[in-house]
């Protein structure tokens, strides 16, 4: 830390000050009212961390600044000037800080937006996964209905065969289904994919049951109407139909069990409905056995 005499301080000023110094060292001043000199000295309040302001002050005042600052008895305006300077300085600073805060806010808003977008994205992905699952389900259902349709066709075929007494041979069987396959199921399929899967299921089930009953009626009719026909042929036909009915019943039972397993624990009402259906079927099978 080195001290120096600045260029704007004249040698005369320093000489004068030295004279004062010597005088007061030799004859210490006595203050009125026994006022302690230490009380007249206070720490400087202004912390100068900006040199440019002082530079401008020095350059503008030049050699006069020393006199005006120190020799002037009206030194009291010095702090005022400083305060003014400080207030001038503080204004733009605060502005800057405000702007920076605004930036922070904006940043935070942007961050929030980004986070929400991320969440939305994740949700979309989740829903997409669900959609894929349901698609799989639909495929499964379609498969199930396909099987159902085939079964119905088979039943229709059998019914047709039952209606035609002369075609009761095994050889003629494959001929009949080509017609029914073309007309009946195609009509049904135009409705079913749009319909509610539950109602559709019920519909098909009732259809099945109805068909079952229909078959039974036909069979009984056949029994009464064509009793005068050849005994052997009739019996063979009857046996075949019985076998088919048995197979159908077992199939529906298995399917029902499967469905119940799927639905199990999901919905009680659906469960009860299924139980009802089962009862109907069981009644049906009772009729079969009779």
């Amino acid at each position: 830390m080195s001290w120096l005499i600045p260029g704007y301080v004249s040698t005369e000023d320093v000489e004068n000050n030295l004279r004062f110094l010597k005088r007061y060292i030799d004859e210490p001043p006595i203050f009125e009212d026994d006022e302690s000199p230490s009380k007249l000295i206070r720490p400087r309040k202004v912390v100068r961390n900006d040199y440019s302001d002082h530079d401008s002050n020095v350059s503008s005042d030049g050699a006069d600044s020393f006199d005006s600052n120190l020799d002037d008895p009206d030194d009291s305006d010095r702090p005022r000037r400083r305060i003014q300077r400080r207030s001038k300085k503080s204004k733009p600073k605060s502005k800057k800080r405000k702007r920076r805060e605004m930036d922070d806010e904006e940043l935070q808003a942007a961050r929030e937006k980004k986070r929400l977008a991320e969440l939305e994205k994740q949700a979309k992905i989740k829903s997409a996964a669900k959609i894929v699952d349901s698609d799989d389900d639909e495929d499964e259902e379609r498969e199930f209905f396909e099987r159902e349709r085939e079964l119905r066709e088979k039943m229709a075929r059998m019914a047709e065969e039952g209606e035609l007494p002369n075609s009761g041979t095994k050889k003629k069987k494959p001929k009949a289904p080509s017609q029914s396959r073309k007309v009946i199921p195609q009509k049904e399929w135009t409705v079913s994919p749009l319909a509610d899967p539950d109602s559709l299921d019920e519909e098909t089930m009732s259809d099945e049951v109805g068909m079952h009953l229909d078959l039974k009626r036909k069979l009984s009719g056949y029994d009464t109407e064509h009793s005068d026909l050849d005994e052997d042929g009739e019996r063979s036909d009857q046996e075949e139909i019985d076998r088919d009915v048995e197979r159908l019943r077992s199939l529906t039972d298995v399917r029902m069990a499967k469905r119940r397993a799927e639905v199990n624990g999901n919905d009680d009402s659906v469960k009860s409905q299924l139980v009802k259906k089962r009862r109907i079927i069981s009644i049906n099978s009772d009729e079969d056995e009779v």
Binding site: M1, S2, W3, L4, I5, P6, G7, V9, T11, D13, V14, E15, N17, L18, F20, L21, K22, Y24, I25, P28, P29, F31, S36, P37, S38, L40, I41, R42, P43, R44, R48, Y51, S52, H54, D55, V58, S59, F66, L70, D71, D72, P73, D74, D75, S76, R78, P79
Partner: protein, 122 residues
């Protein structure tokens, strides 16, 4: 540190000196006195030299008026600035570093601490 405003430089010096004497800093005050004395001698020699240069420049200035005067003046300015207070004993430097009142007195004498103002400008 600063003396409460509203006083002349002489009053301020008297106050600071009294305060330092109250704190038994007469030794430091004596040292300061001799240092300022020697500095003034140095300042005077610089002033004389600067005056001599100025006179020489004026004599020559009849032939090369403007180009010569300018650098001579600035060099004199620099010369005045380059007067650094030589404290000699390290003890005084330490006392000065610790004592704010002593620093205030030095400032009142017209000295400045390097770095207090934008000295780099010169």
């Amino acid at each position: 540190m600063e003396v409460k405003p509203g006083r002349s430089i002489e009053e301020q010096i008297s106050i600071v000196v009294a305060a330092l004497l109250d704190n038994q800093k007469s030794e430091a005050l004596d040292s300061l006195k001799t240092i300022i004395q020697s500095t003034i001698t140095e300042l005077k020699t610089w002033d004389q030299e600067a005056e001599a240069r100025r006179l020489a420049a004026e004599e020559q200035g009849k032939e090369f008026e403007k180009p010569m005067r300018q650098p001579v003046c600035t060099s004199a300015h620099f010369a005045l600035l380059s007067i650094v207070l030589l404290f000699g004993k390290d003890g005084f430097r330490m006392t000065l570093f610790k004592d704010g009142k002593l620093q205030l007195l030095l400032r009142l004498m017209g000295a400045e601490r390097l770095g207090d103002r934008g000295n780099s400008k010169y």
